[in-house]
Amino acid sequence: MRSMFYALTVAVVIAMAFWAYHENYKTQEAQARAEGVQQEISDARARLRMLRAEWAYLNRPDRLRDLAEINFDALGLLEIRPHQFGRVGEVAMPVEDILIIEEPIEVIDIIELRGEGGHFP
């Protein structure tokens, strides 16, 4: 009974050591991966900053104004002026399409018939 217990203990120790060994390598791998991702994030951040700076540079008011002037023929952009403000009530309602009558039926005769006590066809 006692030797059984010893053998079992030794086996458990070996199994635990094996497990710990694997866990160790798995942790190291995960850390390396995390570092890689971290690096990617900081690269992406740097790229984002660069793009933001570029966006701000391309959208600087001087450049937009020059572009609006160069492309005036195509775009016709002017500075916003006070008279361009409007009220919602000033916007015209959309005109609804009038229903198109495709096969007109003559109704005058029918009414006349009814007046004379006649019947519908």
Binding site: Q31, A34, E35, Q38, Q39, I41, S42, R45, A46, R49, M50, R52, A53, W55, A56, Y57, N59, R60, P61, D62, R65, E79, I80, R81, P82, H83, Q84, F85
Partner: protein, 597 residues
């Protein structure tokens, strides 16, 4: 210790008498003695065990506590921390009120040389001069072949230049990463932002430090690594600032002015929506302070904040507002304007002769120096001084700009009766256009003090009450009349009910000795819409002269006012201000019935 005998004679004799075996007594005594010895040794052993137990408990507790602290503390070098991100975001961005970037960082490289590693120093020098024409070949050759072990060649180079240097193939030419401050909008808002340069420099990195403006004022905040990711939000609106600078530049050119400044301020929050000073510079390449000439002529001089000028008649409304507040006059009180007004050797004159007397409103509308001086005499030196102090016109503004605390208004050394009169119409006291804007904002904010600020404010300011709401409202009605019937008639912008006051002050000579005949500072301080004030705009032109007529016109009504009107026309829609039909002024009858209630 007294040993009890094993065979006490008395008991043995008694036992013998009774015929018992006396040996039992001896055995009994031996047993008792052994029991005693056993108890004693057990107590000792138990004591030792207790001490040992305590020792182990202590040892385990120590180890346990140590393990606990190790488990709970931050590892010294976090392997999975966001270390890389912080290094990149070295200095926080600066953005405008809508989050558009005003200043950000840009990664570039610096170029340095280690001459002892060079193989062909002369060829490298030749090639470098081809890439950077501003370098001197002889100097480079001398440096490369001399005893120097290290030298900087360029602080900042572009990626193309880096590739070109790389293509030289010289192992002694090395690159270091550099963070560079970039102002993508160029010269826009240059005086607000200031500029940045390198502080401590190393091969692998360099400190970026602010040298002026907001960059210097908030240097510690911008460099704080814990707040590197949150940008500094200013109250400036990029598109409004651009429009103001554009119109101001146009106006400055048309009016042949040397310089110009504009301050646009939100009345309720004190936020500066635009702050312009021309001529300006590119903060990406900030010029050095001038070594000769006047500092106030340099490009880096902020006329709106640092420039102290006598702002002329724009001050009259402060005198009138105080008189209204004190109940000394009301808008229709008649004031003696018979001129000239003599004070000792000094004479006060008006631009035109306005007859024997004018109502208080007309004194402002016609801009009568004599009338204002008479009102000031009613107020007195002490009260005027105290009032201007409460308006903030005697101390530097609290604006968050590095240059602001040095702009302390110039006041007369001795505030005499004559100073009282000249200051009442804006002479003898020099202040910045920003001071003037803050003073007008206080009038427009119902008399509550407004401090100008460059940071986005979450809520309205409500400072100390400087004058009563009624006096403030009456002053605004006077300002409105200046535009409808007075000196600022060109300032009318349909739909925005501009109210304001012009001011034309002769420029004092640089080296003392009176004033120039033909050089003026023309100022227009305005509030719009006058019936429900939202914004204050101050436009100042330095030495303007409008030459379209027969003779040059220099008064503010002809120079600063049309420029300000155009700014309002352009900027008000940008700020979402809808043009409105001005409500009619209350008629005399309603006023009487209100009083009767």
């Amino acid at each position: 210790m007294i040993r009890t005998p094993l065979r006490p004679l008395a008991r043995i004799l008694q036992a013998r008498d009774r015929g018992e075996n006396p040996d039992t007594i001896e055995r009994e005594n031996i047993r008792a003695r052994h029991e005693e010895m056993r108890d004693k040794s057990r107590r000792r052993a138990e004591g030792r065990l207790f001490v040992l137990g305590l020792f182990f408990l202590f040892a385990f507790a120590t180890i346990g506590a140590r393990m606990g602290t190790l488990a709970n503390s931050e590892p010294v070098e976090p392997r999975a921390g966001a270390a890389g991100a912080q290094i990149l975001a070295q200095r926080a961005d600066i953005v405008d009120r809508k989050g558009r970037i005003l200043a950000t960082n840009f990664e570039t490289h610096s170029l340095y040389a280690q001459p002892q590693q060079m193989i062909e120093p002369e060829r490298a020098a030749d090639a470098l001069v081809k890439i950077f024409p501003d370098l001197e070949r002889d100097r480079l050759v001398k440096d490369f072949t001399g005893k120097r072990k290290f030298l900087w060649i360029k602080r900042k180079i572009s990626p193309e230049q880096k590739q070109a240097v790389h293509d030289i193939g010289e192992p002694g030419l090395l690159f270091g990463p550099r963070e560079m401050r970039l102002y993508p909008n160029g010269a826009l808002a240059a005086h607000i932002l200031g500029g940045a340069s390198f502080g401590e420099e190393g091969v692998n990195s360099a400190e970026v430090i602010g040298v002026a403006g907001v960059e210097k004022q908030f240097d510690a905040r911008l460099r704080d690594p814990a707040r590197g990711h949150e940008p500094l939000t200013l109250s400036i609106d990029l598109s409004v600032q651009a429009a103001v600078e554009r119109v101001l530049h146009g106006g400055m050119t048309i009016m042949n002015a040397r310089g110009a400044a504009a301050v646009l301020m939100d009345v309720e929050t004190g936020e500066l929506i635009a702050l312009a000073s021309l001529p300006d510079f590119d903060p990406n390449d900030r010029p050095l302070p001038p070594s000769e000439g006047l500092p106030s002529d340099s490009l880096i001089f902020n006329r709106a904040v640092q420039g102290l000028y006598e702002l002329g008649s724009t001050f009259k409304i402060f005198t009138m507002a105080q008189a209204l507040d004190l109940g000394l006059v009301n808008p229709s009180t008649m004031i003696n304007t018979q001129g000239p007004l003599r004070w000792g050797k000094f004479k006060i004159r008006d631009f035109h002769n306005y007859g024997p007397e004018l109502s208080a409103t007309k004194v402002i509308v016609k801009s009568s120096n004599i009338g204002t001086a008479r009102v000031a005499q009613m107020i007195g030196v002490k009260r005027q001084q105290e009032f201007l102090g409460r308006l903030g016109l005697l101390e530097p503004t609290s604006l968050e700009l590095f240059e602001a605390p040095n702009a302390k208004p110039l006041t007369p050394k001795k505030w005499s009766e004559l100073s009282l009169m000249t200051i009442s119409y804006g002479h003898g006291l020099s202040s910045s256009p920003l001071h003037l804007a803050a003073g007008y904002a206080t009038l427009a904010n119902g008399g509550y003090k407004v401090e100008p600020t460059l940071l986005r404010q979450p809520r309205n300011q409500r400072g100390a009450q400087v004058i009563s709401q009624e006096a403030a409202a009456m002053s605004l009605r006077m300002l409105r009349e200046v535009v409808t019937d007075g000196t600022a008639s060109l300032g009318e912008v349909t739909g925005y009910a501009v109210g304001g006051k012009t001011g034309t002050a002769d420029k004092p000579k640089t080296h003392g000795g009176g004033y120039y005949e033909d050089k003026v500072i023309a100022t227009f301080a305005s509030v719009f819409p006058a019936h429900d004030p939202k914004y204050v705009l101050v436009v100042t032109l330095d030495e303007p002269s409008e030459n379209s007529g027969d003779e040059p016109r220099r008064t503010a009504g002809w120079t600063a006012v049309p420029v300000a009107a155009e700014i309002i026309r352009r900027v008000a829609p940008l700020m979402g201000l809808r043009p409105e039909i001005e409500p009619l002024a209350p008629t005399g009858i309603t006023e009487v019935s209100q009083l009767a209630e």
